[in-house]
Symmetry: C2
Subunit: 157 residues, 2 copies
DNA sequence: CAAGATTGAAGAGTCAATCTTG
DNA sequence: CAAGATTGACTCTTCAATCTTG
């Protein structure tokens, strides 16, 4: 925002909360990216591998899980496929769908990165909070997820 | 993250909080961008104009205020200058510095966008929270901001 | 026609290199 | 040499257009 020109449309408390969210976006997220970069990944690619490490997934479901557009997913999957971290095969039941699966190399990379990533998340956020604060944070932000998760405003094109 | 492969390195509560933060990044921020796009701006450019609407600023200070790298600022300022939304002049006291100032057109654009932006922020976050939740959110995230704001890990190149 | 998926172009962000002034 | 600032190359994201299958 920038502290609105003509007085405050957000009160002092709201302003602090908003500043915190923007700080997370402008400082916290780049910090996560810095951990991924030496491994040749961006954060969302790690998310894809982590999701696939549980079980193979339709590309559509994968995109929905990570709140990505299909085209964004497609570009990321191209890279991951070229690096041999995932494989892709047509779905047996629906010729339109594609199933993505993680490879052994992909699984190994996730295993290598995961501890660093969790440590990042702790160092960035949770090391500084009391359990009750974590709870409050989660409950407050759950609204965002619920509200936006079921919104018509998304979609690829 | 993606719910780590081998069990939970984050407990249930932390997981919910983390999910909320990522949801904000993956759903909330793009929503803000969608409001800016019809005006030919990205969110951070609006932030720059909003900051400059208070008073002229050295580019360095502007970058620090918005937690941007100098090169990122430079690229954005090129665009804003070409569109006539800001002007730039050398600093009188230090030949290395540059002072940025908003133009009348820039000020008008901020005035046009600001109400929509504030409404976005309310609709996304604060309309759904009790005052005490806003307070808790702000206090929890203030730690993040403080912690990351004074970190050695940043810098342009 | 709708759903799943891919592609290419344009805009934005990051990094490294560079330039100038103190 | 350090600080302020700029540039170019490369990568990532978005959007619109397209293709295929149900």
């Amino acid at each position: 925002v920038g502290r609105e020109p003509e007085g405050g449309w957000l009160n002092e408390t709201e302003w602090q909360a908003w500043r915190g969210l923007i700080a997370f976006a402008m400082l916290g997220l780049p910090e996560l990216e810095r951990t991924m970069r030496p491994h040749g990944l961006v954060h969302v690619e790690y998310g894809l591998l982590a999701a696939l490490s549980t079980r193979p997934l339709r590309l559509s479901d994968l995109a929905a899980t990570l709140d990505m557009s299909q085209s964004r997913l497609s570009h990321r999957m191209n890279k991951l496929r070229e690096r041999g971290l995932v494989t892709v095969r047509p779905c047996a039941h629906d010729g339109r769908s594609t199933i993505a699966e993680i490879t052994e190399e992909g699984r190994a990379l996730v295993g290598e990165i995961a501890p660093q990533h969790v440590e990042d998340v702790r160092r960035l956020i949770f090391d500084h909070l009391q359990p009750c604060q974590v709870k409050a944070l989660g409950e407050a932000l759950a609204v965002v997820a619920d509200r936006l998760g079921s919104c018509p405003s998304r979609g690829d094109s």
